[in-house]
């Protein structure tokens, strides 16, 4: 039982840590694909928005 519960806890914690790491290194497409030559404007509240 202990091993099972430890595994569940570890999986949840690992998933949370991964989400935190990916949130810091990944960018929204409106930020990632904007260059000096091409401006991808603020998408606002649409599906690809920063929220």
């Amino acid at each position: 039982m202990k091993s099972f519960l430890a595994a569940l806890a570890f999986a949840a914690i690992a998933a949370f840590c991964v989400s935190s790491v990916l949130d810091t290194i990944q960018q929204a497409s409106s930020v990632a694909y904007t260059t000096s030559g091409a401006r991808v404007g603020d998408p606002g509240n649409n599906l690809i928005g920063s929220n």
């Binding site: 595994a7 991964v18 989400s19």
Partner: protein
């Protein structure tokens, strides 16, 4: 006067020319129809051959250069018609098969009854690794099936709002639990590869149907029998394919183009259906299907009689190492 008139004419011609080039439609009127038709023909041929029409792109997202990709229709057709059939046959078929097996064969009992003597089969770290991978697999499987079939099967039951909320959380769980799942796979491979190399004894085990088809038959096996080795390799290879295809779906800017992305989606979906079907059989035999089997992953200790019947060679090895009782008195212990 004539020079000013010619100057005026020249000025008007220049202004007219300026408007011609400034207005795209007007500019195209200057192209010869024959030349235009040759280019259109090339475009139509490209569409017919299943190739895609692309343009020039100046933004970093190279996939945005794709204008028309006819293969997308084949992918959509696969996703909507062929994949549900594959999934239905594999998963529902396995449920049916297991139900029939349980009805016909019944639960596989320990022939000589439980001895009451236990021996350690899986250490706590092994059980931790198994449950890490298994619990992630359950959530990944259910959330993945929701992506494929949820709209048709679940939405009518819960309604649009509840389904959307549930699916949103399921998607997040699916994306992030993939990582501990992959970690579990790697650890599992490292700790159990040495006991899962196929051998001659496995062929003998398979020829006798593993002894599960009839009572009283117990072909010898080491720590893992051929069925378990099969499950191990299905998990490792299937899991690796799911991990690789899933990685490309998590980071969709990695594949070269949208066709590659569609390919990985197909791999992910098909392998998932087969993987789930195989795991249903594993879950069955480890719980309902065989008396005494669950203890191996539950407490880590199994009954000596159970072990002698299903993994006789492993018991001998453990006894030689002094890790298991010799079990001179291994008949059923009456309840008190």
């Amino acid at each position: 006067m004539p020079s000013s008139l010619s100057n005026l004419r020249a000025l008007c011609a220049a202004i007219a020319l300026l408007f011609t080039f400034a207005h795209p439609a007007a500019a195209q009127l200057s192209f010869k129809p024959t030349a235009e038709a040759v280019q259109e023909d090339k475009l139509l041929n490209a569409l017919k051959e299943g190739d895609k029409i692309t343009g020039r792109i100046s933004i970093p997202d190279s996939m945005a250069s794709s204008l028309i990709q006819p293969a997308g229709r084949d992918w959509r057709d696969f996703h909507r018609s062929k994949l549900p059939i594959i999934g239905g046959v594999a998963i529902l078929g396995m449920f049916l098969l297991l139900a029939i097996f349980l009805m016909v064969r019944g639960r596989i009992r320990v022939d000589h009854g439980f001895s009451g003597t236990k021996l350690l089969r899986f250490a706590s770290f092994e059980r931790f690794t198994h449950w890490l991978t298994a619990s992630c697999f359950i959530v990944l499987a259910l959330s993945g099936l929701n992506i494929s079939f949820g709209r048709v099967l679940i939405l009518p039951l819960f309604g649009a709002q509840a389904f959307a909320t549930m699916s949103g959380y399921a998607k997040i769980a699916h994306d992030y639990l993939a990582f501990p799942f992959m970690l579990g796979l790697v650890i599992m491979f490292l700790i159990w590869i040495k006991d899962n190399i196929p051998g001659k004894i496995d062929w003998q085990w398979i020829k006798q149907g593993g002894g599960i088809l009839s009572n009283g038959k117990h072909p010898p096996a080491r720590r893992f029998n051929a069925g378990q080795k099969g499950i191990f390799w299905i998990v490792i290879i299937g899991g690796a394919l799911m991990s690789l295809s899933g990685w490309f779906l998590l980071f969709p800017y990695l594949p070269a183009n949208v066709t590659a992305l569609q390919f990985w989606t197909v791999i992910h979906a098909v392998i998932a259906m087969l993987f789930i079907a195989a795991m249903l059989a594993h879950i069955y035999i480890g719980s309902v299907g065989m008396e005494g089997a669950f203890d191996a992953m539950g407490t880590g200790e199994v009954d000596l009689n159970w072990a002698k019947e299903h993994h006789s060679l492993w018991v001998e090895e453990e006894q030689a190492k002094g890790r298991a009782a010799s079990g001179s008195d291994t008949h059923a212990v009456p309840a008190e």
